[in-house]
Structures are given as structure tokens and as C-alpha cells.
Amino acid sequence: MTIASLIDSPSELTDAASSKTAIVLMTRIRLARNLSGTAFPGWAKPAQREEILRICREAVTATSPMKRSLNITVGELSDLEKQILVERHLISRELSGAKGGAGVVISKDQAFSVMVNEEDHLRIQVLRSGFQLKKAWNAITELDSALEDHLDYAFTPTLGYLTACPTNLGTAMRASAMMHLPALVISNQMEKVVRAVNQLGMVVRGLFGEGSDASGSIFQISNQTTLGESEGEIIKRLHTVLQSIIEHELNAREKLLEADAGKLFDKVGRAFGILQNSHLLSSGEAMNLLSLIRLGIDLAVFPDASRSVIDRLFIEAQPGHLQHAQKGEYDPAQRDLLRAARLRSEFANFVRPEFSFSTNSKN
């Protein structure tokens, strides 16, 4: 598979939106793995990195989920291609900045990606749309076990899988969910939620991970610690936390509707108006407007079927995807023009909102 055909085929994220993805847009699990007796990528010499890359790519492409995958080095990717892969959560920012001897293998359906020589020799990742921690775990542990047939992992019985950074020791697993929490943001409860989630040993981040902002009211919630608990226990604990965040978000929506439905519908209606008519939109503003439309869908202002359109636009409004669609490179000001044009045309034919004040917002 080539990078061009991968970019032009829909990703797991853009293609599977249903009412099941209403609040949890996507589930993701990554495992860090290293080869025994081999220097970690950050300490390995260039020649060693090349050798690690060769061995890992060979092993990864031999597994069945990775048949006919995209197998490419970071050096072979253009800046724009790297950005697109970051926006699809298929590679990390750190990998996209790697010098030499780094690469990635991405499955044809874009559900699996294995980064080689990021912080660890292998960063195995699985993406599933919606709230599917269990399924994601089953998929990734199978791929991990298949790799074990070809690679000698660095492992000790007490410390578990050995990783470059001691914060990832043990299971070396990070399980996360990408959540859309507009009502908690509108009612200023996010700070409280973040604090509570931290107390439970989980971390809240923005859409693109560490240090990114939470535009579009989208947050990533994941486990903080990796040693001392089994994968199953971590996933169970995360599941409970996520479930309770979903309940809080639903309650916040009910409260907003009860307190002042007019005010909430006004936000949704205005967002619709701006998306139909504006001529300059930054990616941050676009994300926030799309988030309000998505909330409108959850509140039955728009039909359920539109949710997948919004989830696709969340990604297409990102700078890399926008430039790819326009077949060129543009500065931020030009991008804002192009983005607004793109969204105007998308919303010209969008179903008109139907506001009913008796809406039963449970979903």
C-alpha cells in the first residue's frame, strides 16, 4: 500500500460514526515494546537504529493484521504527509520529528499502526471508533503476541516490559478514550472533572495529546500508571471512570436544557449560521462550531446520520487535511479562507435544524 492511497481511503475515525459514538468518539490502546539487549532508540547509534528498524519492520509486516499494510520510513514522508498521519492519530508528533532510522507500519484499514524507533523500539497502537476498550485490547494483545513469535522482548518478571522511560514500565500500556464533552465545557465543569479524574490516577489531555488544547470540546482520557496493575484491571478502572464521565456529560446536558433550552439552542443555531456563511475560520473556531452541531445531533436537532459527517469534518478541518484536499501548501491566513469555503459548501446542503423544546435528550 502507498501513502497516497492510504491518505485517500477513509480512516477508522472518519468512517464508522454511529449513535454508539455519541460521546466516546474513539478508543485507543498503545503498547510500548523493546528488543532485549538492544539500546533504546534515544541512545542507539544511527547504524543500530537502522538495524532495529529493519528487524522490527520485517517482524511487523509478517503478522496477519499487517498484510498489505503501508510500511514506510519517516524520511520517505513529506511534511504534509506526516501532518496528515498525526491528525489521524496514526503517528505521534515525536515520530514525525525523528531524524533517521524511524518508521511506521499502518494496516490497510488504519486500525493498527506500529511506530518503530519512537521513544521505544515499538509503539503498537490500535484505534477503534466508539467506546470499545475490550475489543481494542483483544485486538492489540493478539498482534502483540504474534510479534512475540519473531522478536525477543525486553522483559523482567518484576518490572514487566522494560521501556526507555520508567513511567511506562510494567504493562507499558496506555489505554485512552477520545470524548466529546460540550455540556461539561459550557457549564464550566471541566476543571472539576479533570481534578476528579486525576485523583483516580487517570489523565485528561486535549485532542492531540500532551500540551494540545481541547478545541471542539474533545478530550483524551487515559491511564497514568502502568506498573502494579494488570492490563485488565487498568482497563476496568478506566472503563468505570469513562462511564461516570459520560453520565456527568448527559446530566449536564439535561441541566442546560432544563435551565434554559433557548440559550443552548441559540448556540447550536448560531453555529449552523456561521458554518453556512462565514468566510474566515481558524481550525480552533471550526472545531468549536462543529462541536456544537454535534451536540445538536445528540439533542435530535439534526438527524443521527449527520454525526458521521461532523466526525469527518473534525479531521478535514485540520491544517494538513485541508491542504491535502486543496493540493497545495498555504499559510494560515489562506487556510482560514479555504476552510470556511470548504465548510460553507458542506453546510449548504446540510439538513436544516429542527428545534423542539420538548426534546428528550437521553441517548
Binding site: 541512545w43 521513544e119 512475540e148 525486553a154 518490572l159 520508567p166 514500565l169 510494567g170 500500556m173 492490563e231
Partner: protein, 170 residues
């Protein structure tokens, strides 16, 4: 002030005082202006007290830091600089450094999750083979032919149990 606090990282007077709660534990750090700047304390998004504490706690070790990882030449000072280890063997070499860190960092200090069963089985088979091959050469050298024959038979037996053909970077 009678007794001004000193910077935790150098000896200058501390002017930046930080308190952060991580996993229900209170961590306090006092820093001078320049260390605070260097550690990015002024940039709230990029700063984690936990990272700093982790590195600061290594300072006393630095004097006894002549230890090197035999496998990759890594030193505790390198860890202080990068916050990452050099290779898997470093965890054995710097055990004394790692163990106290884990308590603050994780829920527990012992792994209870997945075990790479197939890889470990394979490793134990290879360890056994290496030992048997050594026995064989020794036996031949000292002309203990009965022992040599036994080792040879055992080697061919063990070889049959090898599940697949793994590759390693070694």
C-alpha cells in the same frame, strides 16, 4: 529574612516556590530564578514537578555515579539529562536508582500483567542449549565421551522443541 531557602538544584537563594499534588502526595520545590527558567517552570503547559523531582532526587546519587551500564555505557548522569534509560539492561545496572522512583510513579512496584510467554519459553530453551553446548565441548576436551554423547542427544532433543525461528538484534 533570617534563613532564606536555597534552590534545590543549585545553591543560590530560592525565589520560586512550588507546591504540586501528584497522586495525593504533596511535593514542594524551591528554585532560584535561573533554575526555574531553565526547567520551564514559567511555562505551565510544559512543566511537570514530578519530572523535576524525579531528576532532583537523583542529585545525591550523582556523586556515587561512577556506575556504568555494562551493556550500553549509560550513566546515572545521562538519565538525569534525558529522563530516559539507555537500554533494557540499565534497569539492572541502576536498580538502586530505579526502585525508589517507582513508588511515587506507579500504583505498585511489581508487574502483574501480561507475560510474553512464548518469548520467555524460547529464551529458556536457548539458555539450556547454550549450557548443553558448553558441556559438550568441555566433555570432548576432557575426553569424557559418555558425557559428550549424552549432551549431544539432549541437544538434538531440545532443538526439536524450538517453536519458531525468532530474530533478535543481537
Amino acid at each position: 529574612m533570617a534563613n532564606p531557602l536555597k534552590c534545590d538544584l543549585c545553591a543560590k537563594p530560592a525565589t520560586v516556590h512550588l507546591t504540586q499534588i501528584v497522586n495525593n502526595k504533596v511535593h514542594k520545590v524551591d528554585l532560584c530564578e535561573s533554575c526555574a527558567q531553565a526547567k520551564g517552570v514559567t511555562d505551565p503547559s510544559g512543566f511537570s514537578l514530578a519530572d523535576l523531582l524525579l531528576k532532583a532526587s537523583l542529585n545525591p546519587e550523582a556523586s556515587t555515579a561512577s556506575v556504568r551500564c555494562e551493556q550500553c555505557g549509560f550513566t546515572p548522569n545521562d538519565f538525569k539529562k534525558h529522563g530516559r534509560f539507555g537500554c533494557p539492561t540499565c534497569y539492572e545496572a541502576f536498580k538502586g536508582l530505579v526502585e525508589p522512583m517507582l513508588d511515587n510513579m506507579h500504583k505498585g512496584t511489581t508487574h502483574t500483567g501480561k507475560i510474553p510467554q512464548r518469548a520467555l519459553e524460547r529464551k529458556s530453551i536457548y539458555d539450556r542449549l547454550t549450557k548443553l553446548e558448553l558441556d559438550l565441548t568441555e566433555a570432548i576436551k576432557s575426553e569424557r565421551y559418555e558425557d559428550a554423547a549424552r549432551a549431544r542427544d539432549e541437544i538434538s532433543q531440545v532443538k526439536q522443541t524450538i517453536p519458531s525461528n525468532p530474530k533478535s538484534a543481537r
